[in-house]
């Protein structure tokens, strides 16, 4: 393990997270269940099957969404 961090944005908010973590790790760190959300990374949808294998990179921009009530 190293103590380096990377700088990212999640849903418009700036965050620092440990270097080398996966997107699934990021979701868990945020308190989210990866199975209940969808993730967009730098405007590209990340397939759920690859959330565990894609590494969070410095400067990434994420949108993490879910279903809410709507008409």
């Amino acid at each position: 393990m190293n103590d380096e961090t990377v700088s990212i944005r999640v849903n418009g908010e700036h965050r620092r997270v440990p270097e080398g973590i996966s997107i699934a790790d990021l979701a868990l760190e945020l308190g989210l269940e990866p199975a209940k959300v969808a993730v967009e990374r730098n405007l590209e949808v990340v397939p759920r099957s690859t959330l565990g294998s894609v590494t969070v990179e410095d400067g990434d921009e994420y949108e993490i969404v879910t279903f809410v009530g709507g008409g």
């Binding site: 993490i64 279903f67 709507g70």
Partner: protein, 265 residues
């Protein structure tokens, strides 16, 4: 007369994009006071499809309850919408995420022209429909009450045509019966009135025009008793559908007695 046990739920299903449903009422899940009330209203409505929105998760409070905890997506079809999208690109981006979140391709497309009327932008809507169909989506499309635009949407790959009856959330009832009827006559895919229903009779009117279904949110959610109104809407949609199938009597300008004139003393 022999008893006719047939019920609207038993033998009168409708099919969209290969999926068959008994209920012709689709309900929204917005504007409810609580998830409990929302879930009870959906149950009372008998709806098998609910619309949902796609929004950012609340990172500040990730453990708060979620819609899926109250309305089971395995039991009820979730129809993700693009409410709040004003361009084809925004709508497509939203639905690509929805497809990943849910794993399904049946979606509700709406591309709005402006915030005041929430009237659809048909040029952007048509463009988005073409792109979504090419990407394998099955879009049910909110649209203007324009029979020509409706036909173009169908040709572009819309799996259902959903004209508004009045502005979203207005509860004004169907303002455009003639146009809705024309769209129904011309369409080869299901036609559902989406938006404008205020009370039960409005839903019956839509069904009596031959629509395959009705989609509503505010009429139920903003009723004083949403669960009772959900029951009313279920009955109204079924009654309107039965009346359409039964074929209404012709209209006359003057009276026509119901009792025989022969044998009058």
């Amino acid at each position: 007369m022999a008893a006719r046990p047939e019920m609207p739920t038993a033998d009168d299903c409708w099919t969209v994009a290969g999926r068959t449903y008994r209920s012709r009422l689709i309900v929204g899940t917005g504007k409810y006071k609580s998830f409990e009330e929302n879930a009870a209203a959906v149950a009372a409505s008998g709806a098998e499809i609910v619309t949902v929105a796609v929004r950012r998760v609340n990172i500040a409070d990730p453990k708060q309850p979620m819609l899926t905890d109250y309305i089971d997506p395995k039991a009820i079809t979730y129809l993700p919408n693009t409410a709040g999208c004003f361009t084809a690109e925004d709508a497509i981006r939203t639905l690509r995420l929805a497809r990943e979140a849910g794993g399904w391709t049946l979606v509700k497309l709406e591309v709005l022209g402006e915030a005041k009327t929430l009237y659809p932008d048909m040029i952007e809507t048509l463009r988005a429909t073409e792109i979504l169909a090419k990407e394998g989506f099955e879009p049910m499309v909110y649209c203007a009450d324009d029979p020509i635009a409706a036909k173009k949407l169908e040709d572009a790959g819309a799996v259902a045509i959903m004209p508004l009856g009045a502005p979203i959330g207005s509860g004004l009832g169907l303002q455009n019966r003639v146009m809705i009827r024309l769209i129904v006559e011309n369409a080869k895919v299901p036609v559902l009135v989406d938006a404008g229903v205020g009370t039960a009779s409005d839903a019956s009117v839509a069904m009596e025009l031959g629509c395959d279904g009705v989609l509503m949110n505010t009429a139920i959610a903003e009723a004083k008793d949403p669960i009772l109104m959900a029951r009313a809407m279920k009955a109204a949609v079924e009654a309107g559908r039965l009346a359409y199938r039964a074929g209404r009597m012709g209209k006359r300008r003057y009276a026509d007695p119901s009792s025989p004139l022969a044998g009058l003393i």
